[in-house]
Symmetry: C2
DNA sequence: CAAGTTACCTAGCAATTTACTCGGGAATTA
DNA sequence: TAATTCCCGAGTAAATTGCTAGGTAACTTG
């Protein structure tokens, strides 16, 4: 039970792309220097992000990475799902038969927790992080508590 | 970023104790058979639980483990904190200097997430799990949503 | 075209964690 | 004394994390 830095690295790197939106490509070398992450490790993370079609790479001089969608259409959950296995979350696991009562109880507890975490991360887009910084996170929480459903497209500006 | 089964094992085992509250000690051998967890692994988990004074062990025939407090005074968060390192959660981490802007943003995001998870787990006691099973979990979420913390269950969206 | 730049790919590594086995104790009860 | 049960430490295979090393492929510019 730990929040590894892997997902955080990915989110941080994606934030670098979002901050540069509309201003050309961002090279991994830049991100590596900016964020203090090893270049090869970044390449691995971005391979995963590419697979999930969150970023697009352009080779050659002047190349680098772009977001494939707007920063408001990419959530933190998307990023973390891409780089982490996330196996026991959402729906991928949890299909064990529940024979013993207490085992069943903890299974449903874990499912609930997974959903909590997932929904929280799904409610925060890159644009949220960019535009308003930490204050925005609080807002996302308020919004979720009120509405109960998340659509990151409505920017309450 | 994964929810390991370690904490789940511990919660499950503690549930066994809670289910037997007032009916004498529960041996690790029993739990091992009931839950299909290796005895030695249970011993390690219970060593941690003992350190945090969540359980009390009694040796000799007729011995076993008791909860040191009522099941309503032990939360899932207590249990998981005892057996997991939980390092990057709550407050233990996050005291890094935030130089780069995007790094700072993700740090605060991670702090928020940690607190979300912690609060969720803190809101569920062993008694909750025992008395009402899964229904109780929903109730805990409702309670929290009212107070304004987080939570929103829109399953099967 | 050639050279440089950048993405892309594969392999391997040390450290840590997980879940487990083994082999002993030490305290308590009968 | 003997059985039971907690207690303790060492060791292990597999997986994960974060990283290094050493390539190849595509693209742009001089």
């Amino acid at each position: 039970m730990r929040l590894s830095t892997k997902g955080r690295y990915a989110v941080t790197a994606m934030l670098d792309l979002a901050l540069n939106e509309g201003k050309g490509a961002v090279t991994l070398a830049d991100i590596s220097v900016n964020q203090g992450i090893s270049l090869s490790y970044l390449e691995q993370l971005f391979a995963a992000l590419r697979n999930k079609e969150l970023v697009r790479g352009v080779r050659g001089p002047g190349g680098g990475y772009y977001l494939t969608r707007g920063a408001d259409e990419i959530t933190v959950a998307d990023i973390i799902c891409a780089v982490d296995e996330w196996v026991e979350f959402t729906r991928c696991g949890g299909r064990e038969n529940c024979h013993a009562g207490s085992r069943c109880l903890t299974h449903s507890l874990w499912d609930e927790l997974s959903e909590e975490i997932f929904n929280f991360l799904k409610g925060i887009s890159l644009a949220d992080l960019v535009e308003r910084g930490q204050a925005r996170i609080e807002a996302a929480k308020e919004k979720k508590a009120k509405v109960g459903s998340i659509s990151s497209q409505e920017r309450a500006a």
